[in-house]
């Protein structure tokens, strides 16, 4: 692993278009600013890891291919399947 020491206000560059800035250092906490092309997905590692594990668990399943067909799906909906999605800016400090 590459180790780089940076001070507040300094940046590192990944490739030609990903910039990571050290915005603030306070005790055990570092605030980073990330500028990347829109196509680059940015996750907190723990979220990425738990979703990856859950995807793997779903793919592994109960072993066989049997899913119950006749199960109680509490909410019956016929017809409409499409939904809209809310888009919001989360708390920037979150």
């Amino acid at each position: 692993m590459l180790n780089i020491t940076r001070r507040r206000g300094e940046r590192i560059v990944l490739g030609d278009d990903v910039f990571i800035s050290v915005l603030e250092v306070s005790g055990q906490t570092v605030r980073l600013g990330i500028e990347a092309p829109r196509s680059v997905r940015v996750y907190r590692e723990e979220i990425w890891l738990e979703v990856k594990r859950e995807n793997e668990a779903a793919a592994a399943g109960a072993g066989d291919a049997k899913l119950p067909v006749d199960v109680p799906a509490p909410i019956k909906r016929d017809g409409e399947t499409s939904r809209s999605v809310a888009v919001t800016r989360p708390d920037p400090r979150g």
Binding site: R38, A58, G61, L67, P72, V85
Partner: protein
């Protein structure tokens, strides 16, 4: 012309190329750029999201709205912008399901739903509160099982 994949789970499966869903970013941590939704019984609440590029990958999914009355999806505006998604976009929503021996142990990932529209799919991080990574799909069954009433 139809696509044929040799699925370890289902054997030989023919897929209509029209029904292939492009996932430019794959599923989170799993990859796979082309997937198809398979079902053997249209009335089942479950479908299989099957990878076309890697036939060893398939995941059961369901429409969360069929199971959770309070389900909603909210994405960050970065994701909205990246995916060309806004409040007017009509999407199909799926969540991955971890199947188990007993219904009471089935869970769905409400935290990272899969949105499908215009032949494209994206797995996103749901910002709406109260969306667990492992939400019991059959909460009533699970409650009864926990209470010993099975």
């Amino acid at each position: 012309m139809r696509l044929v994949i040799e699925s370890p789970r289902f054997g030989r499966v023919e897929i209509d190329p029209e029904s292939v869903i492009e996932f430019p970013d794959g599923l989170i941590g799993l990859g796979g750029s082309r997937w198809a939704l398979l079902t053997s019984d249209p009335s089942s609440p479950f479908k299989w999201l099957h990878c076309v590029d890697d036939p060893s990958l398939s995941l059961p999914v369901c429409d969360p709205h069929r199971f959770f009355a309070d389900f909603s999806v909210q994405v960050t505006d970065e994701d909205g912008e990246r995916l060309g998604l806004d409040e007017r976009t009509q999407v199909d929503v799926y969540v991955t399901v971890v199947a188990a021996e007993r219904l009471s142990d089935f869970t769905a990932n409400r935290r990272a739903p899969i949105l499908v529209w215009n032949g494209h799919g994206h797995q996103v991080i749901n910002q709406a509160p109260g969306n667990d990574l492992r939400a019991p799909l059959f909460a009533e069954v699970a409650t009864a099982a926990a209470g010993g009433a099975s």
